[in-house]
Symmetry: C2
Subunit: 131 residues, 2 copies
């Protein structure tokens, strides 16, 4: 571990070596999604200026947009007071960050005892993910 990794050691990783990361639209402030990072994901995010997460389901690094083209260009990286949450300010390529084909992942709004879907599907996921 090199001296230059000190900034990575500052992060309060979970027992599983992860930290949650919020992706926020750098222009309009919309909260786009939340995913997880391990050390390598955060390091690569810094090195490439594109969001790299850790997929807990696939158990591998996930360069956001690698299949869909919906890459997130990282403009700023922030850490919170407890050093256990990352905030990325990003430019969202394609304007779609959610795997459902929507602009963002927070499309269920609480209304009178129900979660109501409020945002349209901009692109059919079957067209986004061709595999």
């Amino acid at each position: 571990m090199s001296v230059s990794d000190n900034w990575l050691n500052k992060v309060n990783w979970t027992e599983d070596g992860l930290v949650p990361a919020i992706a926020q639209d750098a222009d309009n402030g919309d909260v786009l999604m939340v995913a997880w990072m391990n050390r390598e994901a955060l390091k690569r995010t810094v090195e490439t200026n594109e969001a790299v997460y850790w997929s807990r389901s696939r158990k591998k690094l996930w360069h956001k947009g690698e299949e869909s083209g919906h890459v997130q260009k990282v403009k700023e990286i922030r850490l919170d007071c407890d050093e256990d949450v990352i905030l990325l300010k990003v430019e969202q390529m394609g304007g779609i960050s959610c795997h459902t084909g929507r602009h963002d992942c927070f499309f269920k709004k609480y209304e009178n005892g129900q979660w109501v879907t409020t945002e349209p599907v901009l692109k059919d996921p079957a067209e986004i993910y061709r595999k």
Copy 2:
């Protein structure tokens, strides 16, 4: 459990019965903080229109602002596609959401291999928390 609790059952609670909640400034989109909620916290948030979290350290419900006066008036509640993250759009009373006395918790910015503190302390925590 009443029928009217169906919306609570939709949430993908962790094994510990919690869900992370992001508080975002409803006016300017700033991400203020991230905390945790259990069922009761989310229910009370809906009922009172003020953010109620679950304090993992104190192991009790935490009505944000109960000591500091920095209550969060809830304007909107959203759930993400995986139903495992809550987004609150709030009006932050006192303009301070962080226990350090800053506007928000994300005041450490990554710059050239370091986390640099970028936001001023608006009020001395010793004055905020008098106990």
